[in-house]
């Protein structure tokens, strides 16, 4: 079917008119009609969802009530499940260095170092669903198992349904976003070990898009999904904003500037959507 110039013109005018007349059909805000009415149609933003693991699930970890303290028992019980060690012929996805050329959909900002040297990092636009829930982050965080644990905390007994890792020649244990190391007696909560793989994201994971890469963040760890469906712990990408600090983050002041530090990652507080969020920055 061939179109004449006049036909094409009519079609173009028709399409333009449709765009001009039709109202916005989507909502994006919460507490006012003004916000809802002013919001544009949902941007064709990527809303990635983690894909289910293709690896067979031996069992699902039962819920552990955060308030229930582990019972003191000898630490010799058998783990409920083994987790395959991460032995890969291919290197893990590399976190983009801060000096790489930015992709088109990554916004570059300058973070002012205390020594006044601007450092170029990339900031990722927040996913809409994350934006809406940010002002209730404090409450949501308290509902997650991992919120009651911090690095250095000792427990006598691992939660039922824990997983065991052997990674980097060391045994670790995992449950609900919390990683444990063996202690002199019992277990000690530790930082998420790099390259550890879990079959499912911890509760409350935020989605962070950096260019074409999709990171997930929960309980102070950043994850990338693997082809087998699992998620591995990776280094924090610079220039991304998260709504919650890791449970064991500590406040540090460098040259009069306040940061938070956890597991080698520095977070700078920023005001995002009217609430405090945390931007990953180079070590100040």
């Amino acid at each position: 079917m061939k179109f004449s110039k006049s036909d094409s013109l009519i079609l173009v005018v028709t399409l333009l008119a449709v765009g001009a007349f039709c109202p916005n059909l989507t909502a994006a805000d919460w507490g006012s009609l003004h916000g809802n009415n002013r919001s544009a149609p949902a941007a064709p933003a990527f809303h990635p969802q983690p894909q289910p693991s293709r690896a067979p699930q031996e069992n699902h970890a039962p819920a552990i009530h955060p308030e229930s303290h582990p019972v003191v028992q000898p630490a010799h019980e058998q783990p409920q499940q083994e987790v395959r060690p991460v032995e890969r012929p291919e290197p893990h996805p590399v976190v983009e260095p801060a000096h790489e050329q930015p992709r088109q959909d990554v916004h570059v900002i300058n973070i002012q170092h205390p020594d006044q040297r601007p450092v170029e990092v990339k900031r990722t636009p927040a996913v809409e669903t994350d934006r809406r829930r940010m002002d209730i982050g404090e409450e949501r965080r308290q509902s997650y198992f991992w919120s009651d644990y911090h690095a250095g905390m000792r427990i006598d007994r691992l939660p039922d349904g824990y997983r065991r890792f052997h990674i980097h020649d060391h045994d670790y244990f995992y449950f609900g976003g919390v990683y444990y190391d063996s202690g002199p007696s019992g277990y000690v909560v530790c930082a998420p070990p790099m390259d550890a793989e879990i079959p499912e994201l911890p509760p409350g994971a935020e989605t962070i898009q950096v260019g074409d890469a999709v990171y997930y963040y929960a309980a102070g760890a950043f994850y990338l999904q693997q082809p087998d469906g699992g998620f591995i712990v990776v280094a924090a990408p610079l220039g991304v904003t998260v709504s919650m600090l890791p449970p064991d983050a500590t406040s540090v002041v460098v040259n009069g500037v306040g940061y938070f530090q956890a597991d080698g990652t520095y977070y700078q507080p920023v005001m995002q959507y009217g609430v405090t969020a945390y931007l990953t920055v180079p070590q100040p």
Binding site: G31, H34, R38, S39, A45, P125, E138, E139
Partner: protein, 251 residues
Amino acid sequence: MKPLSIIGCGLLLLLAGGCATAQEQTNISPRAESILRPALNFLAKTPAFSLNAEIWREHLDEAGQKIQFSRTVTMDVKRPHGLRLEISSPNTARGFWYDGKTLTVLDRKHNLYSMADMPATLDKTVDAAHDQFGIDLPLIDLALSDPYRNAMAKVQDGRYFGLATVLGVTCHHLAFTQDNVDWQVWVEDGPQPLIRKFVITHKNDPGSPEFTALITHWNLTDRIADSDFAFQAPKGASKIEMQTDESGSTK
């Protein structure tokens, strides 16, 4: 005229007509209109007011369970360029100041604040805060210079549901429909037609979560000083960057 031309023109008329119908306020009951318009015009003519409210937000968690979160809100408005807002709960407390020049957001829990230059009127500032920084303040509809026009901007249908009691106050219950949300409002039955309750239903979202506001106290008489809208940083507070909204979802 060629067949394709006829089809194109027909499609154009059909779509234009359909969209225009969606934008027009053609199905609002006279009773609903007769209550909402005076109520919001009464508010628009009030040069300054304060209110206290309890707001509830529903959130669908990862397990699909609908959870309600609450905040208390205090709002001081002095038209045309004064706004003071406190949003708090046992977990969080945030303050907002607008003095005709600057919008300041204070995170009281972390003692952090952030500032941004704003236009000279409250209406334009509300637009700018939303468009530039993705800030949507609860109940800000009441602070706009023409709250009736704002409320009815996208309404397609409005109905009246009779009298109801809200926090012991007899109110008229109205409900309105839009493409993106449905909303209900309860207007006090009396010489001062004040908004007592407000509900927005996000009907297009999974689980249709709602925002609910109960306005527990109105004060239309106390004088509000201009200095109340000027931000004074608390002792030890640190200033942080106010990030612009680059998600593309609010413009």
